[in-house]
Symmetry: C2
Subunit: 161 residues, 2 copies
DNA sequence: CCGGGGTATGAAACCAGTTCGCAATATCGC
DNA sequence: GCGATATTGCGAACTGGTTTCATACCCCGG
């Protein structure tokens, strides 16, 4: 096992190129399965779990195994192209982080819709809190759970029945 | 399965009394195992996982099974006496929520120490963000991961060797 | 363009945490 | 105390995920 390092994207590089660079640098190989998985993952642009990703990958090639998807997502996470998240329900979800700012999530517990947001003032306050306790933050997770407008309306309607 | 509802503490009630009220109301029974588990859990005042809790419970009664601890913690969570959390590593941790303010966590990824904090300004900003997107928040999770002072020092020392 | 060393893959075994099914047991209202 | 019903402990089953192992593939050197 070689030391894992994630690498910064070159100015004009595509995700696929970055991955290629990473693979080469680490002495890893570019395979058909990896290409399909990465393509599919990048095309999906969402918060997918392994099942969803595997289903889509198998449209291209039904023989790809779950293990390979797990392994590939781990790889993408290590090289900094994907970020693993875990919103409660046991399934790890991945989202692309290619040239993407950090952001947090607002999750509707009714319909599962996820809104991404970013708030510098919150981040600043977080740093302040951490500093106050002598901590150096290297990661954080902020998730807000609630009902979106539609689900609120639906709930109100339901209550009235 | 009856509808689950958590109940608010009466002004002068102890956790054990609240639980008793909950059990009676739901037609459930008070057993020796449940009492031991609840007592142990409340006495521990921390963020315990099931293994830790089971170990302590077995000091009182070695025959209590893991399944019962799981079932009891689920019960406590449902009636609002405990809160389940999941900081990364696959172990669900529980903390007492009896008459406890909401708080967030600052977790040292070096030694696992957990600091609790509360910050009204962050909460206010969260509400603001949610409102802005038309959401009504009913829960949130904020976790800051970093190194505590000691682990920072240790890391610096390690790097120098 | 071919061969070989080393990596990647798929299937199945494995793992840890958690839940479930069931027979035996304990609780609680009457 | 009785009896209906909830609970327990056990082990088996399930879950998401990782690892093993034999085989297939990639890619560099010749």
């Amino acid at each position: 096992m070689k030391p894992v390092r994630n690498i910064a994207p070159e100015p004009t590089e595509t995700p696929a190129e970055l991955l290629q660079r990473y693979l080469t640098r680490q002495g890893l190989k570019s395979t058909r399965q990896r290409s399909i998985i990465v393509e599919t993952f990048l095309a999906a642009e969402g918060h997918l779990d392994v099942d969803q990703l595997l289903a889509r990958v198998r449209v291209q090639d039904p023989r790809v195994s779950a293990a390979t998807v797990y392994r590939t997502m781990k790889l993408l996470t290590e090289c900094g192209l994907a970020h693993a998240q875990n919103f409660g329900g046991g399934h790890t979800r991945y989202e692309s982080t290619f040239r993407r700012e950090h952001h947090d999530h607002l999750i509707c517990t009714g319909c599962g819709t996820i809104v991404e947001f970013e708030n510098d003032r919150i981040e600043a306050l977080q740093d302040q809190v951490a500093r106050h306790h002598g901590y150096t933050i290297h990661d954080h997770k902020l998730e807000l759970y609630g009902l979106c407008r539609d689900c609120q309306a639906r709930a109100a309607r339901g209550a009235r029945l």
